[in-house]
Symmetry: C2
Subunit: 438 residues, 2 copies
């Protein structure tokens, strides 16, 4: 019955690609034992050598498409990143009848539906464990371990760079810009950190998780997205005083009227496990009907952790494809033809508690006016901190936590408050996640 | 290529068995979509009905062996527990050519080598995700997700009853016996809680994890085992004062001279994630060379969480066996013929820091004498708490944290101290886990 051993072609020899080569170099014996089938990395496509990586006697091509067209290759690993050449590469690999493993979240979030359908039509595997949360097996957990669960929610810290920056801001009281510069110097943040900072990277990952959890097509434009650049050290301090940490969360919940999909800085109760996941770590909390709540924590990026996930996919495929012609696990958890869109709940309709911070003139009647305007929008105040004015100031800082209300209610109240002459500057608003549904 | 759908026979309709039936009752559609193959629960063997469980029109046998001998059944699920009838049942199922899924940690720890070899010889699956840490996919993570890693250590809270008792003792200052009685009333602890209390249950699970992680045969007698009954509220208080929580841990580490396998109450730094896993939750921390450290947390017991793991195994098998004749994943992570025993490091040779508590006469020279005796065994004191004597007492309580030393050094020093006339009662000793190797 043996369909035979599998030969792997690797495209891209950067951080993750070199990690994969290093694992195959050091763990050949282990891979053979655990795979129970012949699984070899034989052909590498890379524009240039990577001095940190010994490719040995493997074939190396400067044109990565040579790997895709190599008739000896059974599985193509795409680790070049981006969504243009990578897309062409994966499409061509599938057209050539190769199974594909990728770590590319942007590619999956933007073009995953088409790629999954292409692979499915051809009976080919398309695996992407490394695309979300690095070395944490969250895709495997959703697609396999929890396959008999109806999943109601996922809440995750799924961008390590952003979590590192928020953690440093919180522990050292430093500004966003200052910590970002350090993260870049340390290599935690890219030279162009836009996607980490503005939430795009986390949104890509959330789109993938939501598809697997809820059986919806991948929808790049689904999540409401805010970055970490709107968090000021003063908000971290006030949040702590109120018993919260600020974390950049991806949230995906199935609600009666659709999907709640959001990526934004969030106040999280300091007692909650996810509030204590610091630095470059990732964490994913899954709420499901049978299992309840499970939390997976670990390194969300890095050469070897991400390569560990790529190799996990490769060993899975090595074991299966040596005995059967196809990967038995549906690429997106269920057959792509069974995926059904659900409406995404508009930010204005999403309910949560809110954190509001504003600076107002220190004179009688101002707080009464603000409370009245909130009340007019149906908003109650659960906690309030008012800082006495500094000696040389005629203004006070006011911080409030509201009860659970819609985004529309907050928007309306904030517009009213913004019109007050007593207000100095704008109103800072941050969402609170209280995990009541968990 | 379709080998066809799979019919499941379930033996045992207790807590977990009824959970499995309930999942099949409510999630038939989901299971069909995610499995991509016909997977049906058709035959149930149970000595009596379970009123919390609607078996529908399924065939029910009072003799569970009727399930095993049913020629229509492809997969037998063993959920009767114990190691006598369950063993015969699983052996007969394998002899009849049935694949087996079990949640039975005692059975796997005690007879797993033979059962795995029997299954392997016959090309049959033997799955046991639910045997360790309930709904947390730790077996899948070790066998599949981390298959390309060399695993160096596992540290886990793997007995929910014990963790519940320690958490309650810590939060309410209550005695062990008092909390145990409550746990029994709440249904968290069995009528006979011996295996939860004395560490046997955790040792069974640790044996399974160690086999998968290190490629060693299952060895029921491997771990050094201590229960939670030796933890007094006063130790929890002193530990807290020193910056630690007391958790009942299973620890499995590969060392240069063998395997360090231990189950015992342990002081854990309060800042460590695993120290904050409270109540009936389980947590498993895995240290591996590529991924680094990952932590999985979730419900370690209960009807639906454990059934979620059983059904995860069933869906995996359903998907695979409809396309190929056998489970491609080696039962114990690698072929049983490749398993190699490693010597278990004797408790006397294991090194860690220690917590010592003793009551001594409050007179000059006593502390100097104790310090000297520790020094004679090569032990330094890292922290010390000495409580002033109560008004009516001539004795003081002394608590010490030592540096990292062998069990033999502690044993020798404690024997010397026990001979002092100034000592009142015995010396309480607990191990400290500082996670320096992580």
């Amino acid at each position: 019955m043996a369909v035979g051993g599998q030969r792997i072609g690797l495209c891209g020899l950067g951080t993750v690609g070199s990690g994969v080569v290093n694992i195959f170099n050091t763990h050949g014996g282990l891979i053979r034992q655990r795979c129970g089938a012949h699984l070899e990395l034989t052909h590498i496509g890379a524009r240039r050598d990577n001095p940190g990586c010994d490719v040995g006697s493997r074939r190396v091509s400067r044109d990565i498409f040579d790997v895709v067209r190599d008739p000896d290759i059974d599985i193509v690993v795409e680790l070049i990143g981006g969504t243009t050449v990578a897309r062409t590469l994966v499409e061509e690999a599938l057209e050539q009848g190769k199974h594909v493993v990728t770590a590319n979240k942007a590619l999956m979030a933007e073009h995953g539906n088409k790629l999954a359908a292409m692979a499915e039509e051809r009976g080919l595997a398309l695996r992407f464990e490394a695309a979300v949360a690095g070395g944490i097996p969250v895709i495997k957990t959703l697609r396999e371990a929890l396959a008999a669960n109806s999943i109601s929610g996922i809440v995750g810290i799924i961008n390590g760079t952003g979590n590192f920056i928020l953690t440093e801001m919180a522990s050292a009281g430093r500004s966003f810009a200052d910590v970002l510069a350090e993260a870049q110097a340390l290599g935690y943040a890219e030279a162009d950190p836009t996607f980490d900072v503005d939430g795009t990277d986390a949104a890509h990952k959330l789109v993938i998780l939501a598809s697997l959890a809820f059986g919806v097509p991948l929808d790049r434009d689904g999540p409401f997205t805010e970055g970490i650049d709107r968090v000021a050290p003063v908000d971290i301090d006030f949040a702590r005083e109120l018993g919260y940490c600020i974390k950049h969360l991806g949230i995906a919940r199935r609600q009666s009227d659709g999907l709640d999909l959001r990526v934004h800085p969030t106040l999280v109760p300091a007692t909650k496990q996810i509030a204590r996941v610091d630095g470059v770590l990732n964490a994913v909390m899954i709420e499901a009907d049978a299992v309840g709540e499970i939390v997976l924590t670990g390194p969300g990026a890095g050469s070897l952790p991400t390569a560990s996930a790529v190799c996990g996919d490769l060993l899975d495929l090595g074991r299966v494809l040596s005995r059967a012609p196809a990967d038995p696990i549906p690429i997106l958890g269920i057959p792509t033809s069974d995926l059904r869109s659900l409406p995404v709940v508009l930010p204005g309709d999403v309910t949560c508690a809110w954190y509001l911070r504003l600076v107002v003139a220190d004179r009688p009647g101002v707080m009464a006016e603000i409370t009245r305007l909130l009340g007019d929008s149906g908003i109650s105040i659960e906690s309030l901190i008012q800082r006495p004015p500094k000696a040389d100031s005629s203004h006070v800082t006011v911080v409030m936590l509201t009860d659970t209300v819609t985004g529309r209610q907050i928007e309306s109240a904030v517009a009213d408050i913004a019109a007050l002459s007593a207000l100095q500057g704008g109103v800072t608003t941050l969402r609170v996640e209280s995990f009541e549904e968990a």
